[in-house]
Each structure stands twice: as C-alpha cells, then as structure tokens.
Symmetry: C2
Subunit: 453 residues, 2 copies
C-alpha cells in the first residue's frame, strides 16, 4: 500500500530544505537500531522490514501533498524538487524475524541526504511497533511452552493499522492464529474465536445459548464458562458435550476468562474426565501475559491453549522500543564518505558502515555477536543483507510462514539463559577493534577541532 | 474513510451466525465504557466518537469480504444476510471531548442483535486508543500549566493510524500542535519542528549548521543545542542570534534534548539574557511525560514549551484503557426489552438503558455524576446525546478547535484535587436508587431461576 510521503515529522522537511540549499550532493548512511533493550527483554525480534522497504519503493509526494506544503514558507524550487523526489538509495537489512540486540543496525540506508532524512519517521514508526510486539509475543509464546497462543488483541491495539500489525507480528513470533478476521485474510493467518459473555446473556439460559452454538458449529464449539459461574458453566457444557457425542461430534473446548485459573482448570479437567470427555480442550484468556502464563504453567494449570489480548497487542510493559535512526557516515565536499557519530551525554552512536557478525558455538548455539565495519574480514555469519540497490528492491519478501519458521529455528539456537521470562543474562555484542579505533579517532579529531574553533 | 467490516474478532461472526439462526428478530442495547480508571488517572477524555459513528454509518461487507468468509463453514443463507447488512441502530454518545469516569457509558447502541455484535471490536479499537491518548495528553498539558506542549510522538506510535490519532487526540486534549505533517493536513492542526542531531552532524561544524538553517528560516529557527555539548551549543546559537538580529530577525528558540534540563535551562537563560537575547525561547524534549514536566516546572526550569513524544503518544504507563462493550438490554420473544447484566466474579455490569447526569455546585464546579435509567426525571445535565437514529447520523461532528475549547472549559470546572498528576481523589459517580433496585431485582430473579434449573 502506498503511504503518504507527508508521514514525516515537520523538521525533516525543514532540514531537507537546508540540505537542498547547502548540501545538494551530499550522501549519507543512517543506521536504524534499538538503543537499549526494554525491561526483562534479552533480545528482540526484527519485524516490519518489508513494510519499511515497501514504503521506500513507493516514496513520492503527491500533487496534494505539495499543495499543502505551499502553506509553509518553503522556497518554490525546493517544492519542485520534492515533487519529483524518489528514493534512490541502497538498503541493507537483517532478515525479517531475525533475533537482534541493542546497538545492532536492523536497517542501514545509504542515500542522498535529503532522501535518507525524509524517510526517517515512517521507518521508525513502522519498525518500532512491529519489533515491540513481536518481541513481546515471543516471550508469551516461550512462556506457554508447547501450548498454542492466539492473538486476541485487536480491540485494545492502537487503531486499525496497529491491530493488523499486532496480529502479523505475534504470528511471526510463534502465535498459532488470531481473532482478527481482516488480518487472517490479508496475511493468510488462521483465525479463531469462541463466544462472548453477551452471547450467553442474550439467551434465557446459559444451556440454551450453548446448545444453539453447538447446533451450528458441532465440531468447532468452544463454550465460555464464566458468564454466571463456573459450576453451572461446566455442568451445562458437559450436558452439551454429551448431546454432541450422541450425534457423533466432539465438543472442541471450553474457555475460562476469569477467576483462579489454576484451581478452576483443575476442577474442570477433573469433571470432564469423570464425564468421559477427556478430549475437550480447556482454553484460558483474560488479561494474560508471559508472567501469568509462566505462573499457570508452573502450577500445572490444566490449560491447553491461551488467548492473549491487550498485554501482548500493545506490549503493555514496554509499549515502544527505544528505536532510533542515526547518521553514521556522510560525504565531504569531494564526495568521499567519512564516518561520523553523535557525542552527546551518554548517547554516543557508532560510526561507519557496519555489519553484524553472529558467532556460533560448536554445538550450533549462538555464542556472541560482533559489530564491525563492513569491509572487515570476519569469519562468522553476516546478518545484514542488501535488499535495495539504487531504490530498486533486490528480492521480494519472505512468506510469513517461512519467517515464523525462521524465528522458531533461531530460538532453538538461543542458549536457555536468554529465554527465561525474567533473565538478567546479557548476550555479548562486542565491537571489533577497528570499530573501537574509529570511535577513538573521531573523538580525538573532534577534540582537536574544538580546540581550534 | 470506509473501513473493512472484517475488522471483527472471529467470534462476532460465529455469534452472529447463531443469532441469525435462533434470534433473527432480537434487538439489544450495548454500553461501551471503561471498567476501571488507569493508574493515577482521576478522569478520562472521551475521544474518537466521530470515528465510531463514521464506521457505523459506512458499515457493510464487500463482495471480497463475503468471498473470504466462504472459506469458513458458515451457511450460505447467513453469508447472503451479511452481504446485505447495514447498521440500522440508534446511537447515543457523550459529546467528543467529554470528561468521563469509570462505568459511565461513552456510547450506547440499541440495534438488531447481529449488528450490535458485529461492530463491537472496531468500536472498542477506535475508542480505546483515542481515549487512552487524550487522557494521557491532558495530564501532560495540565502539568505544563501555561507552557505549550507539542506532540512529537509519530515515530514511536503504533503505526500510521495510531500516529494520526495520537496527534488528533493530544490536540483535543490541549496540545498546541504536532510534528506530524499528515496529521496537520488532515485535521488542520498547526505543525512544528526544529532540527535533528543528524542535521547538525551533517555539517563540518555546529556553527555552520545553525547558520545554514537560520539563513533559510530566519524568523522560525529553533536550534538544537546538545549534539556535541551545551557549552558550545549555546555559544554557537548566540552567535547566530546576533547575526540574525543585525538583519532584523529574531532567533525563535533553542531546544534542549538531554542532560539536566533544570540546570542547563537556567544556565542558558542566563547566557541569553546577558547577550540581550531575552526573547529567544527555550524548548525542551527528550523522553518527557507529565511527571518529569511537573518536576521541571516545580524546580523553576527556564523552559517555554515542551515537545513530548513516546510517553504521550503511546500513553506509556497505561497504553490501553479497560474499555469494554457490554449488553444491558435484550428483547424477549414478544419484542419487549428487558434489562440484563453480567454477574461473573467481580465483573458485574449495570443493566438497562442508562443516562449519565452531571451535577454542578453553585459555583459551577463539577460536584458528582449520577448513573441512572434513561426515563428517570433527574435535574442535572444529561451527558448522553442521540447521535444516530435508525442508522442515520443526526448531526455532524464538531470542529476540532471547538472540541479542544470544550475540553479546556470542562477542565476549569473540575475541582483542583482531580487535576493533580498523582491524585488519590475519586470523583463520585453514584447510581440512582432505581438503577440499584434493578440490579437487585435481576440478581434475585437469577437466583430463583437457578434454583429451578
């Protein structure tokens, strides 16, 4: 989908106006990365790369955009320049779904300065939310172990775009499906659903409501047990399950949405067993997150699958990741690239055109990453891959199921201590000695310059 | 904008299929409300009402939607029914921007049961995010007192839709403008911007970068001071301000984005005064929220305005509000409405067709609200207004500036204790005695029924 090129912060336009005037031929490299991992996270899942590339591919200002920009005091020549602008840069990125760590470039852009600057806000916007939610969802999935997790978040996500991205990101992270029907259609994800309390309430009795549902969906019914109380809920569900049995169908499951899920699920499992309905699955929902699921699993709650909404869909404990977009190189007057970095208080960045190298142990487990300059010869897997050349997409996106599989395979290679829900372990991301020397040289150079000024 | 009718949770479709079969003529009333106020909030700002109404007005399934739904095992007759479905209900809502409290219906829908059910998820989705962000932004605005607050959140909001809604919601809540250019265009909000660190870095020296900017925007420049260090930053800014002065222009401002903002702003204010540049405004940004702004204001930081991003744009400490959609009435077989409610553990709802009445003290200050049945005669301002009749919009939305003004006027009527950033005060929302009696009657009735069953 073509997005408006007005999805910029205004300062990108004012800066571009200055570049157009004073640095018309400048080119620069920018890194998009996460400065610091959010609370309790030991790694992130890169997600949204293809949306970012799609935006770059279709980047252009419409006539109406330019018309609107005339209401500010930009020079006509600059607006004519914008009217013709396309993205013509090179883009390197990690593969969609890659496990990444703080300070590692997820996307690296080398382009004419104006272009690189004008795409900043959209790139951050689309990657921030998808990385945040994929990185939250993978924790929920890890906590659930072998039990499937379903995305139920649409109603509490931040608008339509967020709802769709949440469904996609959590599927990539390992969820089994979503309640969001449009996401199911757009991304070819399985959709799931049960019934709401209002459904049960709309019938004279709970039993009547269960029977009606089971009549229409005899092999797909999941009955919600807590509209009034669990005791009656399970009694009615068992009665319906027995009727279905007589017709040769199986009640698919029951859903618990409140109360003490450990206690209720054990009681209900017992009652189902006694009724010879051991095949009926117990699903749980209701304000769940990775911490609660971990606790349920630890206490041996008799739950076969989880529906997770709000907390996963807005990544409630870390609703944004500290994703930033920083210049690492710029051309001088003769067109040669030289490395640059930001020095301000505790917010240094790394200069130069960089690559991430991932080292594995002999057993195939991830051991450490090294952030190095692109032209260093390092014998490990480089994670950044060229995806665009001169504004042209080099290879299309990966199918969503392959990306999901890729995430799952990487998780197997992550040592266990990084997969705990509350881990203090920090995966080592070292800087190559050449990169460290470059930082020192630039600082030194800058100090000398300041002394001269 | 027409939104897809597939923006539903799957269970709404399965429930609708059951209603179609077993309750084709049922009508129901649903209340959309917030169950519990988020942390530290004493009130909420209702926001997104017009998006909700716009959705209802345009609600319909497209041919492609129906085609997709054929991949599930719905009966053909039900899909034919969906293909023709429009929203034909009545809608009552509070005015956009209304101050609301927990348990108060923000939107009340009376419609054929299927219709009322199928719109649930979208209504929750669009209102949740806008209420959450408007209710966060109003806190930031209150903390800033007379100083303007600008929305800088686009890059960290949850996608494009969220970015636009955050700009709109925070403007309604009292912000002065946004950095989001598309939001500026779509909602006619003022857009603002300064420069990024990368801009400063793209020049050989900071001074050069400031001069270039001031040459293009001589009366609109806000210079970013912390790319390298504040000491040089302010020296260079003063030098540029003096050059502008000679040409008859005034440097608009400087921006501080890191470090100790109290100390730095005081130092910089002093240096500006000494340089006879007292008119230069000092803006601050960098991970601000209402708590930090309150602290800055209390410590007399010399800051004239705030740019607030992430924390406001995702309502970081409460990224969702506990917004729910519950049935309060349904018709019986003879078509008469009878009240209904949910009883499950600690999650009771209020039955019947309700109205909110707001009582004022003699001095015009808000005193208390009463949640009552619609047909009670109560001498206070009713907050719910009829917005749709039989699917037809009764009056168009209010202009955004009028809504913003409305919020501001209401804030004046809120007693001070509810406007503290960390208030423990709870605004009284009482239930009328008829409403309380209705709850008792229904519980009693239900117990008797259970005994019979």
């Amino acid at each position: 989908m073509k997005q408006s090129a007005l999805l910029v912060d205004f300062y990108e336009l004012t800066m571009a106006a200055a570049y157009y005037e004073f640095k018309p031929n400048a080119q620069a490299t920018f890194d998009l990365f996460v400065r610091k991992l959010p609370k309790d996270r030991t790694f992130l899942i890169a997600c949204g790369i293809d949306d970012a590339l799609g935006y770059l591919q279709n980047f252009s200002f419409s006539k109406e955009d330019i018309e609107y920009l005339k209401s500010f005091n930009f020079k006509p020549a600059f607006l004519r320049f914008l009217a013709k602008l396309k993205f013509t840069g090179d883009v390197w990125a990690v593969k969609e779904g890659t496990i990444v760590f703080a300070e590692e470039p997820i996307l690296r852009i080398t382009a004419p300065l104006c272009e690189a600057q004008l795409v900043e806000s959209y790139l951050l916007n689309t990657l921030n939310v998808q990385i945040a939610i994929a990185s939250k969802a993978v924790r929920v999935v890890m906590a659930a172990g072998q039990r499937p997790v379903y995305d139920f978040s649409f109603r509490r996500t931040h608008g339509v775009d967020a709802g769709l991205k949440a469904a996609k990101a959590s599927y990539i992270a390992g969820c089994y499906g979503t309640s969001n029907v449009l996401a199911g259609k757009l991304f070819n994800i399985g959709v799931v659903g049960t019934m709401a309390h209002s459904y049960v309430m709309s019938f004279d009795t709970e039993l009547e409501s269960f029977k009606a549902y089971a009549e229409i969906f005899p092999d797909q019914s999941i009955l919600l047990l807590d509209t009034y109380n669990y005791q009656d809920g399970i009694k009615n569900a068992i009665s319906v399950a027995n009727q279905l049995k007589q017709k040769g169908f199986r009640l698919l499951g029951v859903r618990l949405d409140s109360g003490n899920l450990v206690r209720e699920s054990k009681k209900i499992r017992q009652l189902l067993k006694e009724a010879d309905l051991g095949f009926v699955k117990i699903f749980a929902s209701g304000n769940l997150d990775e911490y609660k699921i971990k606790s349920l699993v630890t206490q041996n709650a008799q739950i076969n699958g989880f529906g997770v909404g709000t907390n996963m869909g807005v990544s409630a404990d870390a609703p944004s990741c500290d994703v930033i977009y920083k210049m690492s190189e710029i051309t001088n007057k003769s067109g040669k690239f030289y490395p640059t970095m930001k020095f301000s208080q505790k917010k240094n960045t790394f200069p130069g055109r960089k690559q991430i190298y991932r080292f594995k142990s002999r057993d195939g487990q991830y051991r450490q990453d090294v952030l190095a300059l692109e032209d260093e010869k390092i014998k490990a897997e480089p994670l950044l891959v060229k995806r665009m050349q001169a504004g042209r997409l080099l290879h299309p996106e990966c199918a969503i199921d392959k990306t999901r599989e890729f995430v799952r395979n990487q998780l197997k290679k992550m040592p266990a201590r990084f997969k705990e829900i509350k881990s203090k372990a920090a995966y080592p991301v070292k800087k190559s000695s050449r990169l460290k020397k470059m930082v020192l040289d630039i600082s030194q150079n800058r100090k000398e310059k300041q002394n001269i000024v």
